[in-house]
């Protein structure tokens, strides 16, 4: 069997490049929490209204007594509920998304607020928005013929000018099923 020395060198360079990329990604995921949604938490999409967390009154932006901000959102053809939300900039926010019907996806352009919303599961992710502004929330998974019309708004305001629409006094809403 013949292996050229140049070929060997090239293989080593390639492996080194791959190794470098993989190492950086793992370090970011483990130490900087730059990771993917993947909480594998089930929920019955047919009875979201009976689940305390995603009952209509509880949707939207919450702040608990410790100042943690969380957002509970429902996606359904063809809108996000609520359609407009306001969140503070430069704050760690926990988003929890569920679908009442089919597959959806949501992306806030120019940010990493992105997740698939699969019926039967809660999609949870944490992120923060460095820059205030008026961002669209776009459905980015084909969900039916009205898919183009499925979008909402997210208003990112300066941290000190923001007021929570919902205060959670016991801080427990985020943990309930």
């Amino acid at each position: 069997m013949h292996i050229d020395p140049l070929e060997k060198q090239w293989a080593q360079i390639v492996l080194a490049i791959c190794g470098l990329f993989v190492t950086l990604i793992i370090i970011d995921a483990l130490f900087h929490n730059i990771t993917t949604p993947g909480n594998v938490e089930t929920i019955d999409s047919a009875s979201l209204h009976l689940s305390e967390e995603f009952a209509e009154d509880n949707l939207g932006v919450h702040r608990d007594e410790n100042g943690n901000v969380s957002v509970k959102m429902v996606a359904g053809r063809y809108s996000f509920f609520p359609k407009e939300i306001s969140v503070p900039a430069e704050t760690n926010i926990t988003f929890r998304w569920v679908s009442i019907d089919v597959l959806h996806g949501v992306h806030v352009p120019m940010t990493n607020m992105s997740t698939m919303i699969v019926p039967g599961f809660v999609a949870e992710l944490q992120t923060s928005f460095p820059k205030p502004g008026d961002y669209p929330m776009l459905c980015n998974e084909y969900c039916g013929l009205g898919h183009d019309h499925m979008w909402g708004r997210i208003d990112v305001v300066e941290k000190d000018q923001w007021h929570a629409s919902k205060q959670t006094t016991n801080g427990a809403a985020g943990n309930e099923r």
Binding site: M1, H2, I3, D4, L6, E7, W10, A11, V14, L15, I17, C18, F21, V22, I25, A29, I34, T35, T36, P37, G38, N39, V40, E41, T42, S45, D101, V102, L103, G105, H107, P109, M110, T111, N112, S114, T115, M116, I117, V118, P119, G120, F121, V122, E124, D134, P136, L138, C139, N140, E141, Y142, C143, G144, L145, G146, H147, D148, W151, R153
Partner: protein
């Protein structure tokens, strides 16, 4: 050897492939036009999504599968110098697959299966669509069986000899396809068909997505391997040189087959139904599968360099200019590698676990896969067709110059189409929308890129028409001269004297794949039965 049956097999398969291709090209141009909103009367989500679904099925399943089968039969028979085994089975597979395509076309074209080529349950299409897709896959399994039997027949007749590289790679692809198609076959047989026929009321969309992810990544290597085969066994010969390394080529094909399979979760990075650890495992595998592509790039460019220098090219880059740029195979490989470099870069962005969040399901993604599939891969399908059509029809190519024009225009059109497509993705435009109705300032910045895409698509459509015209004129035009060339396979620079069995067979690698798949897909699939997931009812669209 009288190879009229083999030639007929190859021609029939490739004719179906390129017929699907040209129909789908017209749909592609309609889609960029509709999407841009330039012509208001064209706006229709119903037609748009029926068109996108059909375009995807024709390009991704029909063009590829039929081309690969036809190319495989002819490669097997010419490289092994034996007739295709069991031609009844081969023609039977062709018939079943073609029947499946016709069956699926009925609901697709009438808008009853606008579920895109990736299915997306719990949205549900007409059952004929799923049945047709299944028959296409079943027909292609006949091809796999024929390839594997011929591989072992030859090995038995030539003990200890290295299997010709072209056949080694073709068999690798047949095995890859058997492994690959199992995921989607399970999804269709156990989930989609029962649901669409009303045998079951609900479906688990998380499980369906996981099974589809099993297929979704290796399938692109199934499409790509014929292009790599041409890189290794046709290009060096056409350029006037040798394969730089036969052994490295075999190793590359083996690593492609083994590592393309257990990595499909990079399509599910943004999904909630699989855990972060599994995604990370698949993410690492995704980087490993770039290794054989880097190795292929090295070997092919080294082979080209030898050719350029043999033709008198001097200096560090002088050999590039002295390559035979007017040879369609050589021109195609140069353009193909250029697109592979940019497409591969985009692919590494997608593969990057968390960076993917910025581009997931944006216009970046179709921009990426058009560049790598319709660019890198399909341009090699063109070159193979230009090479084989005269041999199959026994008539010379209608016009080499027009073929060169066709390859260049395809490359230019692809550049104009996919560059704005990538930019649109970075600007946040979702893929799979038929119009832009968002009342937001951001969307104003999308307009000029959408218009550029129309121009790119139009150039490509013209190029595609020219391609089909050239094949038609070659096949049916009056033959001015007798054409009796044979397929010529490139020789390795260093003859392969002794080959370890693991580079000449797949028995070991099948076991490795089975073990690796059990780890990377076993628990992620079984979890749906452990954790008590909630099914969804079926939805129309």
């Amino acid at each position: 050897m009288n190879d009229s049956n083999e030639r007929k097999l190859a021609l029939s398969h490739m004719t179906v492939a390129f017929t699907a291709f040209i129909i789908a090209c017209f749909m592609g141009e309609y889609q960029v036009l509709e999407r841009s909103g330039l012509i208001e009367s064209l706006g229709s989500p119903t037609v748009y999504f029926a068109s996108v679904s059909t375009h995807g099925v024709l390009m991704a399943y029909v063009l590829t599968t039929f081309f690969i089968m036809g190319f495989g039969y002819y490669t097997a028979s010419t490289s092994l110098n034996m007739p295709v085994w069991n031609k009844e089975l081969a023609w039977g597979g062709f018939g079943v697959a073609l029947f499946g395509v016709v069956l699926a076309a009925i609901p697709l074209l009438s808008g009853l299966a606008s579920v895109l080529y990736t299915f997306y349950p719990p949205v549900q299409g007409h059952y004929l669509f799923y049945l047709g897709a299944t028959l296409l896959i079943v027909g292609s399994w006949a091809w796999c069986v024929v390839m594997i039997v011929m591989f072992y027949q030859w090995k038995e007749a030539n003990p200890g000899q290295p299997v010709p590289l072209a056949m080694f790679a073709t068999t690798a692809n047949a095995l890859l396809w058997l492994w690959t198609s199992a995921g989607v076959a399970m999804e269709v047989l156990f989930q989609l068909i029962p649901l669409s026929l009303g045998w079951s009321d609900t479906i688990d969309p998380g499980l369906a997505r996981t099974l589809f992810a099993w297929t979704l990544h290796p399938i692109v290597y199934f499409w790509l391997i014929p292009a790599y085969i041409a890189f290794y066994v046709f290009v060096p010969k056409q350029a006037g040189a040798f394969i730089f390394s036969d052994e490295a080529a075999r190793a590359a094909f083996i690593v492609l087959v083994v590592f393309s399979l257990p990595i499909g979760f990079h399509h599910l990075y943004m999904d909630p139904e699989q855990g972060k650890g599994w995604k990370m495992l698949h993410g690492i595998g995704t980087f490993i599968v770039t290794v054989p592509t880097f190795m292929t790039g090295f070997t092919v460019i080294a082979s080209l360099e030898i050719a350029g220098r043999l033709r008198g090219g001097k200096g560090l880059f002088g050999w590039i200019g002295s390559l035979p740029w007017t040879n369609t195979m050589v021109l195609a490989v140069i353009l193909s590698l250029l697109m592979l470099i940019f497409g591969g870069f985009g692919g590494i962005v997608n593969a990057s676990y968390a960076m993917n969040a910025m581009v997931h399901n944006t216009a970046w993604v179709p921009g990426h896969f058009h560049l790598i599939f319709a660019g890198t891969t399909v341009i090699m399908y063109f070159a193979i067709a230009y090479y084989l059509w005269p041999i199959l029809c026994k008539k010379p190519l209608f016009s080499n110059n027009l073929a060169l024009v066709q390859l260049w225009t395809w490359f230019i059109g692809m550049t104009i189409l996919t560059t704005p497509w990538h930019i649109l993705g970075l600007l946040g435009q979702p893929r799979r929308i038929s119009s832009v109705v968002y009342n937001n300032l951001l969307t104003l910045s999308w307009k000029p890129y959408e218009l550029a895409m129309i121009a790119g698509g139009l150039i490509m459509l013209g190029s595609a028409c020219l391609f089909v015209y050239l094949l038609y004129k070659t096949q049916f035009g009056p033959a001015t001269e007798e054409f009796n060339a044979q397929v010529e396979y490139a020789e390795p620079l260093h003859p392969v004297n002794s080959l370890p069995e693991y580079l000449n067979d797949f028995k070991l690698w099948n076991k490795v794949i089975a073990a690796y798949m059990a780890v990377s897909f076993g628990i992620p699939i079984l979890q749906f039965f452990f954790i008590g997931t909630f099914d969804s009812s079926a939805w129309g669209y």
